[in-house]
Symmetry: C3
Subunit: 158 residues, 3 copies
């Protein structure tokens, strides 16, 4: 079911702010883009397609996302790097329960200090978005990634 042009562009803005928050290491701002009760999962595509439950990251509330942010801030052995999100093919549809369904392809680039930029991770976002206090927020974001080879451990969200 199609949504209005204004809502569609507002969802695109939400996606852009999500990427900018992560790329600029504003992790607290990133967590604030989710509803209090939410689902954030990073899953390999193989597992997802077979209905297997394994997730590389699994958070069920904004509090758990904020815990994750603290972990990022305190992980001392995590080599400094820049991430850069590229998102494409955003699709927005009305969901049956009053939410908004979102789909997009993503590519995350990584730059370690004094190294060239490399491909870090690519896949697909599957989202449920709701309006809360006038702002759009993620009630669900599923990051389904293509390669099971994740260079270095996955500490920062995708």
């Amino acid at each position: 079911m199609a949504v209005s042009i204004a809502l569609r562009l507002e969802v695109e803005d939400l996606y852009s702010e999500y990427c900018a928050a992560l790329d600029e290491e504003r992790y607290e701002d990133w967590a604030a883009l989710f509803t209090e009760a939410c689902l954030y999962r990073i899953v390999p595509r193989d597992n997802h397609d077979r209905g297997l439950p394994l997730a590389v990251m699994h958070c069920e509330s904004r509090l758990m996302l904020q815990d994750r942010v603290v972990a990022i801030r305190e992980t001392a052995y995590y080599a400094p790097r820049y991430l850069r999100h590229i998102v494409s093919g955003i699709r927005v549809d009305a969901a049956p329960d009053g939410g908004i369904g979102g789909l997009a392809n993503y590519l995350v680039l990584q730059t370690l200090r004094e190294q060239p930029t490399t491909l870090f991770n690519a896949g697909r976002y599957r989202d449920v978005i709701v309006r809360e206090d006038g702002k759009l927020r993620f009630r669900e974001r599923l990051c389904i990634f293509d390669s099971i080879v994740v260079p270095n451990s996955l500490i920062v969200p995708l």
Copy 2:
């Protein structure tokens, strides 16, 4: 000549569905995005710029696209892989003959099983789009790719 905002976003949706159909291996859905008489060509940029006719893939009807789909489904020696399309810089214009002109840059990523994601192919789409039975379809899609080095043979469309 500018087109309406609604039409422009509808073209963006067509592009997104094209990418999703290929990325999710819904090749029959991909073929259904073209008109019965159509032109689908994959050409190296060098050749295109010099007006040379050589194409890596050349189909003149939806039937030929469907034949190609059968070939993909039956190619046993094609190692399993995931593709992921990133599209950017979409431009939509009214074409003189009542069609719609579309332009975009694309990047296709490839992930072989248990391998990291790599760059597969990049280039430019040049399209002619028409409305048929209320739906937008490609009457022409030209994929003009930058590198003549195509890793593995090009079996799946771009």
Copy 3:
């Protein structure tokens, strides 16, 4: 401050034309997208974040951009290559002084003759855009790139 949907899409068109002009080596068209007095800078993210003034490229007028174009055209030892721009996460806001603020992530791919396509450079655009003679133009474009490793010298703009 939000801008109208029409203006937002017009800015997206400006970004697309910017990329197409560079990718198609229409450098004169690229320079024409800036106002006569303008600022075009390419800076490493490290320096930018620390407020350091160093820039890899720095032009303060369209004339300087045109000089740069002449330099590109005359650089004989610059191996032929194709560039391909991917832009994502465009955000458009009204600026306090009547201009338009633009933000986006970018990825530039490079293809040397008979070589595979590779990542060339990625980063963020920060823009100030104004309307002049009915057309949108860049009064400022800052290209803030992530990796200090720039393969080959940076001759063509980002």
